[in-house]
Amino acid sequence: MMIFNKELIKGNLTTIVLSSLGNEERYGYEIIKRLDESSDGAFKMKEGTLYPLLHNLEFEGYIKSKEKKSESGRKRKYYQITKSGMRLLSEKKKEWNSFKLLVDHLVARREGQYA
């Protein structure tokens, strides 16, 4: 399994976490589980760093949290993306796609040169 560069992940954590929230309310561990499942285990996030990130996003107003009773009856904090979070996510996605295209283009040209 490929291990990604730490810096690469760090630069895109906000986009990744906001994407994993989607339009639903999720609690902390659920976000981690979802990231793990959708990357087939390739994306491993240190769980301890998720909460500071969530705090930060909440402070910026990109997500909001509320306490709710879970199915098991325990009280949990659920996070939900806000409108401004949606806007940020869409911008980040655009930015990522353009960046990806640029990198693809640059890498392909390089490969052509050496071919």
Partner: protein
């Protein structure tokens, strides 16, 4: 909680001193560990391992806390500055309002006021030949409760009430002046008030009511003054608000300097101006003396100013003392001979409720007594008390006595 969890939390919270933030983080971590151990069916120490390095989380939490505190301080600092500037502006405008007050306008109101109220001679001094004390002994039981309900008209036979001549009744020290229990005074006042409300013959009931007020006034006790004043106030207000305009105007005027943050001298100067009006001064002298005497006891608490940067109130205190001493000479009442107020002050030595005053005043007075003994905060309490005195003297507490 397992030791590993405790260790992780301690490490993650190192240097995070904001209590609210700490509480939130602690709860989050514990919840997460519970979720992981339940869903993965693993034990607590293993679940803690999934959290990664505590130092890494600690660094992020600290960074976040300082960012949040910075934004909070901008927010609350902004609100505080706004309130502070508004407060200064308000104080300044209040003082200006006081300065701009036209004295001639005040004198015109004063003239109209006196014309109205001095015509009502409620408390004419009698020759004091017939004391109601023994008669009232008979209508009160041992607990100072009224036993008879048909005695009001008989009170007209008496011209004064000297409670010291009573044989029965609970006597107590009241500002070092032995008087009959204020309970009798308030009971009698309440009785007359209820009788006035229920009476078919309003004219007679009103005469009885005024007579009771007059007898209570003649007790020459602070309780008596307080209650009689209250009764007469109510009686005047019943006259379709005829005098309310004057009361209101005066109350407005005195509120001009109510919350002066800078000093209280304008307030005291306004007292002095008011008392320079000889007729007015004479008309209310004993009542004003009572107010000043009462207030001065409290002022002694809050004018101590023994802590660093506490405002020194000597100037105000001296001015009040001068007014008080003059009044002491002019009012013949025996309670003004007292030279030392009771210590420590408490609500019992402070206040007697009038017939229609609500009992919660006791809690309020207790609070004022307590606050007046706390350094720094007593300054605020003191300002409020001066305000109270001013309302009493210049506002709706202005009493309507004819010349003694």
């Amino acid at each position: 909680m397992h030791e590993t969890t405790k260790e992780y939390i301690n490490q993650a919270l190192k240097g995070v001193w904001s209590p609210f933030f700490r509480r939130r983080i602690r709860r989050e971590i514990i919840d997460h560990i519970k979720d992981v151990s339940l869903e993965k069916n693993i034990n607590e120490p293993t679940a803690v391992k999934f959290l990664g390095e505590a130092n890494e989380a600690n660094f992020l939490y600290q960074k976040l806390m300082y960012r949040k505190l910075k934004s909070d301080s901008i927010f609350y600092g902004g609100i505080f500055s706004f309130l502070f500037i508004s407060g200064l502006y308000f104080t300044y405008s209040q003082i200006e309002e006081y300065r701009l007050w036209s004295l001639s306008k005040y004198e015109r109101i004063e003239k109209n006021y006196k014309k109205e109220v001095l015509g009502i001679n409620h408390f004419r001094r009698s020759k004091e030949k017939k004391n109601a004390a023994l008669f009232l002994d008979a209508v009160f039981n041992d607990k100072d409760k009224l036993t008879s309900d048909n005695f009001l008209s008989k009170l007209h036979e008496f011209d004064h009430w000297d409670p010291a001549k009573s044989i029965t009744g609970d006597k107590r020290e009241y500002f070092k002046y032995t008087v009959i229990s204020p309970r009798r005074i308030t009971q009698l006042a309440k009785f007359a008030t209820v009788a006035l409300k229920k009476a078919q013959n309003k004219l007679q009931a009103r005469k009885n009511y005024i007579k009771v007020a007059e007898l209570i006034y003649s007790t020459e006790t602070m309780a008596g003054y307080r209650v009689a004043n209250n009764m007469i106030d109510k009686s005047l207000f019943d006259k379709k608000g005829k005098l309310q305009f004057y009361f209101k105007t005066r109350a407005n005027r005195s509120s001009g300097t109510t919350w002066g943050v800078l000093n209280l001298m304008p307030q005291i100067v306004s007292f002095e101006k008011t008392f320079k009006n000889v007729n007015y001064y004479n008309a209310g002298i004993c009542h004003h003396s009572y107010d000043f005497w009462f207030s001065d006891i409290l002022y002694q608490e809050f004018t101590k100013a023994s802590f660093p940067f506490e405002k020194n109130w000597n100037e105000e205190h001296q001015a009040i003392k001068n007014i008080k001493n003059k009044m002491k000479l002019d009012c013949r009442l025996s309670f003004l001979d007292i030279t030392s107020p009771p210590k420590p002050i408490n609500r019992k030595s402070m206040w007697v409720t009038g017939p229609e005053e609500k009992p919660f005043r006791f809690i309020y007075e207790n609070l004022i007594v307590a606050i007046s003994q706390v350094p720094y905060i007593r300054n605020l309490a003191g300002r409020y008390l001066v305000y109270r005195t001013s309302i009493s003297i210049q506002g709706d507490g202005e009493k309507i006595y004819s010349k003694l």
